[in-house]
């Protein structure tokens, strides 16, 4: 694990390529985020409606504390996983993860594969506590996180304002990295040899 690009086969036999995001992925990545349901975009706290705002993610300052991995099929992005770790300071042992899979690629084990990749990177960076923010109403995302060992630890009320002006609560889901690995191993095991890395 850890060297990219690499090809993985999903539960239904589909092959996707994983690699770190590059500067020339701006438009591809923008298309991907525009294609997502609004709920996912909100949860990612990313407004792709203006490409200028979106460009931030491709600035050198972003790369200093973010690690971004994309999954591609047919030349288009079908999922993205990102890990944010402060470079210094009292939270340097924590990492925020964001993971989004396009609806057409959900339910195939791609999320678990991306979490395993994030786990590897987080371990390399000596992260001890991982967390993610989800909208309080996104029950499905919370259930998936709980399966991976995350638990809802804190509610940030009115933390997000939708483009329509509505305020929404976000839940901070947290996990100890060791607990995440145990759950991931179980999940990978139940994939029965599929969803594994292929060289």
């Amino acid at each position: 694990m850890g060297s990219y690009p690499k090809t993985v086969r999903l539960r239904d036999g589909t092959e996707v390529t994983l690699r770190e995001v590059g500067l020339d992925d701006l438009e591809r990545s923008h298309r991907f985020f525009l294609s997502l349901p609004e709920e996912d975009r909100l949860s990612l706290r990313l407004d792709p409606s203006h490409i200028e705002n979106f460009r931030v993610r491709f600035e050198p300052s972003d790369a200093q504390d973010h690690w971004r991995l994309i999954a591609l099929a047919g030349g288009e992005i079908v999922a993205e996983a990102a890990l944010h770790q402060p470079r210094y300071g009292w939270a340097r042992h924590t990492g925020e993860l964001r993971c989004v899979v396009s609806p057409a690629f959900q339910g195939k084990g791609l999320g678990s594969i991306l979490f395993a990749e994030i786990y590897q990177e987080a371990t390399r960076r000596r992260i001890e506590r991982l967390y993610g923010l989800v909208l309080r109403e996104q029950q499905a995302a919370m259930r998936i996180s709980e399966k991976l060992g995350f638990r809802a630890e804190l509610v940030l009320s009115d933390h997000l304002r939708t483009p329509g002006g509505e305020l929404k609560d976000m839940v901070v889901m947290t996990v100890n990295i060791r607990d995440l690995w145990r759950r991931l191993e179980d999940l990978m095991h139940t994939m029965d040899g599929q969803g594994r890395e292929r060289h």
Binding site: R45, E59, G89, W90, L154, S157, H159, R161, T162, V172
Partner: protein, 177 residues
Amino acid sequence: MIRYPKAFKCGNGKVVAVRPLTRDDLFMLCEFFGGLPAQDRLHLRVDVTDRDIVERRLDPPPHWNVLRLIALHGDRIVAEASIEHRSFGFSAHVGEIRVIVAPDFRRTGLAGYLCRQLLAHGIAENLEKIEARLMEDQPAVIRFFEKLGFQRDGILKDFVKDIEGHNHDLLIMSLRT
């Protein structure tokens, strides 16, 4: 728009000048941080004895709006306080406030004065919620923010690692403007 510098008479009888921090203040800022008791530095977000980190933080991160105020007594910084928020995005209405005061200027009303200046700035910037993040084992600081009207949102366990490598729980408090 609040105009600076402003003079504030502290409870210890000393008058300080309050104004935004500039790049020219780096030396004084390092002296201020270096003069804090070691126990206090454990409670700070970054290792302020590292001059590179202090210098890097003089420039706000891209796409963040930051106001950092300092209180000067003569040519010595005796307090530093800041408020910051994202310049765009879905959480641009949420700000974060921080304050650090030299031991001989605590319980003089200075921290409260600085925070009220920053809260007024936050309101002018249309912030609707202002957060404070601190370690759970700082009862005096917690009481200070409660007096300003902040409420406890909750705890994130072991989310703080101090400069000696010990973990602490992170308390998040917030105020609705």
